[in-house]
């Protein structure tokens, strides 16, 4: 009984449940949409399955975020080491300036340079996702107090061990915040990527808007929104886990 209650008050579990129900059960809602929009011949988007669209959407947004974490994390680590310090300033400037570029404009500009399709969209999303990750990796690593570094050195840790066992764990919450920003932006931009030839959950929305079919728009929009809520709750959970062991953390 208490298990059930904790399930119902748990935002992540509840969100996942609603998301799964929407993705798998959308066809079952066809009569509902037919009743709400009696003027529509086709009240349910059936050109692609919602499960397939959701998986493609996740592959695009998730893949781009993952590549961005690897590249951005590596770049952030590199410019905080002695050999890469010279690149620190220019990387900061690019990360700060790049984030003022609207993601939709970056996606659109990538088409003339890279072409239509899922691969160019993946590159555009990755490039945009890099910016907050690099910025937060640098900020996180810089926030490690000097006495802590000294202590690690004093214990005889090498540069690699200091990075993996001291600096990265301490910087993790700040880095995670950057990853979160990148993932949230990528989830939304992936929806718009259906206008540049990637098959995502944005497709029913775009098709619906262009064809004056509000039912398609709503079907795509509720799943994207549910996905965003689940992602947000998931990052909340992860952030809580990362900071739980810290003294003074609630």
């Amino acid at each position: 009984m208490s298990r059930l209650r904790s399930l119902l008050t748990d935002r992540l579990a509840l969100g996942l449940l609603v998301l799964a129900a929407l993705v798998l059960g959308m066809p079952a809602l066809k009569p509902l949409f037919a009743a709400f929009f009696p003027a529509l011949d086709r009240p349910l988007y059936e050109a692609d399955g919602f499960l397939a669209l959701t998986l493609d959407h996740l592959a695009l947004a998730g893949g781009a975020s993952l590549i961005a974490v690897l590249l951005g994390g590596a770049a952030g680590i590199a410019v905080t080491r002695p050999f890469g310090r010279e690149f620190r300033g220019i990387l900061d400037a690019v990360a700060a300036m790049g984030q003022t570029f609207p993601p939709v404009a970056v996606l659109a500009v990538s088409v003339p340079v890279l072409g239509f399709g899922p691969a160019p969209a993946l590159i555009a999303l990755t490039l945009y996702g890099l910016l907050p990750i690099v910025e937060n990796t640098v900020a996180g690593l810089e926030s490690v107090p000097e006495p802590v570094r000294e202590a690690a050195r004093g214990m005889g840790m090498g540069p690699g061990a200091r990075l993996w066992r001291v600096e990265l764990p301490l910087a993790a919450p700040v880095i995670l915040a950057g990853v979160r920003t990148a993932a949230v932006v990528n989830l939304g931009t992936a929806a718009i990527a259906s206008t540049v030839g990637a098959k995502t959950l944005g497709l029913p929305i775009i098709v619906g808007l262009n064809g004056s079919n509000p039912a398609y728009v709503i079907q795509g929009a509720v799943i994207v929104a549910a996905l965003a809520v689940v992602l947000d709750a998931g990052f909340d959970r992860l952030a809580a886990r990362l900071t739980r062991w810290r003294p003074g953390a609630a």
């Binding site: 010279e86 690149f87 300033g89 220019i90 400037a93 690019v94 300036m97 003022t100 570029f101 609207p102 993601p103 939709v104 404009a105 970056v106 659109a108 500009v109 088409v111 003339p112 340079v113 239509f116 949230v184 989830l187 939304g188 931009t189 929806a191 718009i192 206008t195 540049v196 944005g202 929305i205 775009i206 619906g208 808007l209 262009n210 509000p214 728009v217 709503i218 795509g220 929009a221 509720v222 994207v224 929104a225 965003a228 809520v229 992602l231 947000d232």
Partner: protein, 390 residues
Amino acid sequence: MTRVRPIHNRVALLLAAMTVAAALALPFLAFAPNRLLSGKAVALSTVAGAGWSGAALLPVALLLAVPFLRPGRVVNALYVGGGVLAAAGLVWLAGQHAVLLAATASPAARTSFGAGFWVMEAAALLAVLDGVRRLGLGPAGRVAVGALVAALIGGQFAAGHLDQLSIMKEYANQRDVFAGAVLRHAALVAAALVPTLLIGVPLGIAAQRSAAVGRLVFPVLNVVQTIPSIALFGLLLAPLSALAAAFPGLGIGGVGPVPAVIALTLYSLLPIARNTAAGLAGVPEPVREAARGIGMTPRQIFWRVEAPLALPVFLAGLRITLVQAVGLAAVAALIGAGGLGAIMFQGLFANALDLVLLGAVPVILLAVTADAALKLASALALSRLGRTAA
């Protein structure tokens, strides 16, 4: 005496490598028989080999030399100058070659920037950025260098030197539409800003005064902020079209500028309310007490003490809001709100790639300009505070 020249500037070396690789391996321009066909690659060697055009690449050669020069103020000034001239020279070269190609081709033919141009142009601009940093220029100097780059490139646009490039041919076709789109875009952002300030600022003040309000308001605004724009537009479609059907006289619909402004407002509330609250929370308690001590009324304390002290943080929130709204307004074109996004998506749907640029590049410029203007305003507000305090 050693004859080995050490590398003095590894950032410049990386940029030089980028430039050389792009010059050799990527097409500088693309030449197509009409606007919908994809173009044939035109290499930089072809472009630079035509007459004296190659002279425009001299500043690029200077940039290639910078990594090997002993650093100092002169070299760094050359670095910045070379970057500025290279950025303008590459654009000039593209425009010049487009004129040459247009002389022999049909009027429908199009010359567009190739990947090589973009990479080299980016490298030149990054060199400016890096050089300005190494030179240690202050905000005024940075603005001056930025204005110089904008003037050198904008001047070529204004003088008609780039008219044979595809993006300018699209502009010529869309001249009236374009001006209207820029105005509409700015109007969407401005229209969302009014309700945002009217609701967001009082909300922020209330949240700072009472923790209960904050606990109620911020989680809701946070959730709104995580929902992707295209989904929020979609979700507003249902209730707004229902409203429109119930009250046809209101002029509200599920599509058009009204739902766009509503969605933009919903997104803009969080940064404004959060930064209003954070700015007020940052006012030190002793300052408030001192103000009370000299007999100020609560109203005077707010307007003459708290508001000026909270202004820089508030302006930072306004900056986030504006930059975000410029981008969201572009997405709003999908629900028929118009603006620059309409040009951009029209290009995407019709596979007219230079039309995409005509819509997207001004969106980026608008966002960057809004960001720079608000950053400057924040800096001014801070320095005024500093002077008053000193």
